[in-house]
């Protein structure tokens, strides 16, 4: 059994309005960061996954993202996966 360190990013689809991102962008402008725009806020998740192989870890992570960690109607996700080697 191998252990993988997984990083998942989830963000709203471009057609979905992001009120949280809009509010933070306004706050940034008020604070003097006029050069910032198009701010969108999503989620960043770190987890470890146990699997027999990298292929299995990818398959299971893909399924977790689709079923639990994101809402496929409104969100898109991407993940990266790295084997943790015991030292």
């Amino acid at each position: 059994m191998k252990t993988y360190s997984v990083e998942v990013r989830v963000w709203l689809k471009p057609s979905v309005f992001d009120p949280q991102g809009h509010a933070v962008e306004q706050a940034m402008h008020t604070l003097g960061y006029a050069e910032a725009s198009d701010l969108r806020i999503g989620k960043y998740m770190q987890l470890t996954v146990q699997a027999e192989s990298e292929a299995e870890a990818e398959l299971r992570t893909q399924e977790m993202c689709e079923r639990v960690l994101s809402n496929p109607v409104m969100e898109t996700f991407a993940f990266t996966l790295k084997e943790l080697v015991a030292e």
Copy 2:
């Protein structure tokens, strides 16, 4: 003036308890994903930044992260920055 596409990740420091991550991890176990553990949930932000140079964009983004996008007491951040070239 150049335009940079910036991706910011913000996550809780290891010593800070993450109730949201804990709840989602429990839900994953209930749904049959026993191989997932150590789930922590942070934020993933996308924005565009206008600057004269990459060094200036980095400096300003660093400042935005410290002052607005993260809480340095409880959170750590990292960002990547890529120049957007008009086609």
